[in-house]
């Protein structure tokens, strides 16, 4: 239990770190974005708008995360930002919705993920206390411990990156994806089979899990069709979210969600304040050209593409379309926390679908707003704060105010 627990919270941090690496390119501008994002150190909330990356076409063609990136005439930037912002919103809705659907479907059908069966070592305080005050105190303490673990792991990874221990980071990533793709999938499959009372013999199970896991490792760490890679990323985000939903106690989960979004916003603000455009060399991690080349060499193949890249359709023959480079990137940590929120709403809403739907709509609207801000500011933005705030507000208000109203209306068959 202990080993995969260790990779749980680090997973988000790992995702964050390697998302920086996969975004790196020889241009100083994107590197600056990368450094700034690095300094934000936020595990779950980095996001880059790729609309201003003109020089990406020199990228290694194997890096399919940056496929099809021709240059773009400079004057069209603002127009295209607004025009194509809406399209990116739609394209991000699909994977986020799919991840949430998988999590909600599992929560509603498989009883395992709603049963209380112990807690993570990161949340040692139990919530089975008689008084409300004590319970609140315990959940706040749990949150503090969790956040400090995340901060520690982020600093650790930054230090590793700075001292060029790339092999260590790479190995860590491979180990955590192995754990997710094999062990967690095996547990998930076992529980689903138990729920539907389907018997499966061990050889078939072994074959299934082996194929799923091996193809996943290849797709994520090496080459594969973009859609398949994204499907695997959705699956592992959903699995991570399910683990969180199962092992985080009730109140701690909500406080942690709130704290993570506050932390993301704070870190982003601090990062923005420290970033001084006039003195590019004065960033926390000085831009080191040799380090840049090193990282490029040691990750000649695509590094862990833990950022989610909506596939952009190609439009042949239209010159104006070519600047549709890559769309926006959304970190896997964001997927995980959105799904945790919606999953918790589904798990604790006393069989009520209205709460789940309300949280879902709130998160999507938060995502829209964040994308709008991204188009306006053209800087990396944390994706968590706005969506999670909306989600939390809507969860608590729908559960306490709207649910009794709608239930009373439905029982009297009144329609509004």
């Amino acid at each position: 239990m202990l080993t995969f627990m260790a990779s749980d919270s680090e997973e988000e941090v790992c995702d964050e770190r390697t998302s920086l690496m996969s975004a790196e390119s020889p241009t100083p501008r994107s590197c600056q974005d990368g450094r700034q994002a690095l300094e934000d150190g936020e595990s779950a909330a980095q996001w880059r708008s790729q609309e201003s990356e003109e020089d990406r076409e020199e990228e290694d063609p194997d890096r399919y995360v940056c496929s099809g990136v021709p240059g773009r005439p400079p004057g069209l930037e603002e127009e295209l930002t607004l025009k194509y912002g809406a399209k990116h919103v739609i394209m991000l809705f699909v994977p986020v919705t799919l991840c949430m659907i998988v999590v909600v479907a599992t929560i509603k059908s498989v009883r395992f993920y709603t049963e209380k069966n112990g807690q993570l070592i990161y949340t040692p305080f139990s919530e089975d206390t008689p008084s409300v005050g004590q319970r609140l105190l315990n959940s706040v303490l749990n949150t503090l411990i969790m956040i400090s673990v995340i901060v520690t792991m982020t600093i650790f990874l930054v230090v590793l990156y700075k001292y060029r221990c790339y092999k260590f980071i790479h190995g860590w990533l491979i180990m955590s994806s192995l754990m997710l793709l094999f062990l967690f999938t095996y547990i998930y499959l076992g529980e689903v089979l138990k729920t539907y009372n389907v018997a499966m013999d061990y050889p078939t199970l072994f074959l299934t899990v082996w194929n799923f896991g091996a193809v996943g490792m290849v797709c994520i760490h090496w080459k594969g069709p973009l859609v398949l890679q994204q499907a695997y990323l959705i699956m592992i985000s959903a699995l991570m979210a399910l683990v969180f939903i199962k092992y985080l106690p009730e109140w701690s989960a909500w406080v942690i969600l709130g704290a993570i979004s506050v932390y993301a916003a704070m870190v982003w603000t601090v990062g923005m304040a420290k970033l001084d455009p006039s003195s590019q060399g004065a960033l926390q991690l000085p831009y080191d050209p040799e380090m840049e080349e090193d990282s490029y060499d040691s990750f000649g193949e695509p590094s862990y593409p833990d950022v989610f890249e909506p596939p952009l359709p190609g439009y042949p023959g239209e010159e104006l379309e070519e600047e549709e480079e890559r769309g926006v990137k959304l970190g896997l940590g964001d997927f995980i926390f959105y799904s945790v929120l919606v999953g918790k709403a589904a798990a604790t809403g006393s069989g009520d679908w209205n709460t789940t739907l309300a949280c879902f709509v709130a998160i999507l609207i938060g995502l829209c707003l964040t994308l709008l801000l991204l188009a306006v500011f053209k800087k990396a933005l944390p994706a968590l704060p706005i969506s999670i705030t909306f989600g939390l507000i809507f969860y608590f208000s729908t559960d306490n105010l709207v649910r009794p109203f709608m239930d009373t209306l439905a029982s009297h068959q009144l329609y509004i």
Binding site: E78, E79, L82, K83, Y84, A86, K87, V89, I90, F93, Y315, E318, L320, E321, G351, D352, W353, N354, L357, A358, V361, A362, L364, I365, C368, F394, S397, T398, L401, V402, P404, F405, M406, D407, T408, L409, A410, H412, Q413, L414, Y415, I416
Partner: protein
């Protein structure tokens, strides 16, 4: 160039739907808040009081929904004016399309919220109407949800058109018909009357919305006989 225009139009049209759904949700939130506070303030829960409270809640909710529809119209108007300033050569998304999409968003959200809990309960074990209530509970709910969704679509189209052409009586008619439909559901055990009247209102609103969006008897005939070559939603040609 036209491909760009069409796509951006679609894109902004499609983002209008979740936006309006969100606005409906917020309106529901406010109306439940009002109902809840009134209920707590009044205190004792005897049967007729609860019924009156519920009626009050329904009426307030309808009012707030229409207010939020108007607010969303204002928001969309401002957004498309902003877009026009930035991209003067770009064809702005048509207000009719936005009206349709926003009505659809409202309708879907309203329908889903009314119906999804009933739907999930219908899967479970149980007998409908075991205590003497009418056994057509689920059928009635389903048909009522359908009529409400379609009505929201038509109301959206008519409402936005009224706002565009500054015909304020249109808004009043939409509000009154919404109140009428909701009030009709108060006579709930008599499903027949309730449903039939609601469907009649829906057909009337549908016909009105059709003529408001630029349809005519001639275009309808051409469409039904498949003689209309330009049958596209985005076609802005006056018919």
């Amino acid at each position: 160039m036209t491909l760009c225009a069409v796509k951006s139009q679609l894109a902004s049209g499609e983002t209008a739907r979740p936006g309006q759904a969100f606005f409906w949700l917020v309106s529901l939130l406010f109306s439940s808040l009002i109902w809840f506070t009134t209920a707590t303030l009044i205190g004792n829960k005897d049967e007729p009081r609860e019924k009156y409270l519920l009626i009050f809640g329904v009426l307030i909710s309808v009012l707030i929904q229409e207010m939020f529809r108007f607010a969303y119209y204002k928001l969309l108007k401002k957004a498309s004016e902003g877009l026009k300033i930035i991209n003067p050569y770009e064809k702005a998304p048509s207000m009719r399309l936005l009206a349709y999409v926003s009505g659809l968003g409202f309708g879907i959200m309203s329908g889903v919220f009314s119906f999804v809990n009933t739907l999930s309960d219908s899967l479970g074990p149980g007998t409908v109407g075991i205590h003497g209530d009418p056994p057509q509970f689920f059928l009635n709910s389903a048909f009522m949800t359908l009529v409400i969704t379609l009505l929201h679509v038509f109301w959206g189209i008519v409402f936005f058109d009224g706002c565009e052409k500054k015909k304020w009586y249109t808004l009043l008619v939409v509000l009154l018909s919404h109140l009428l439909v909701s009030a009709l559901t108060l006579i709930s055990p008599h499903y027949g009357l309730n449903l039939v009247l609601a469907y009649v209102i829906m057909v009337l609103m549908g016909v009105w919305a059709f003529f408001v969006s630029g349809g005519s008897c001639r275009s309808l005939k051409l469409c039904l006989l498949c003689q209309d070559k330009d049958f596209l939603l985005f076609n802005q040609r006056a018919r």
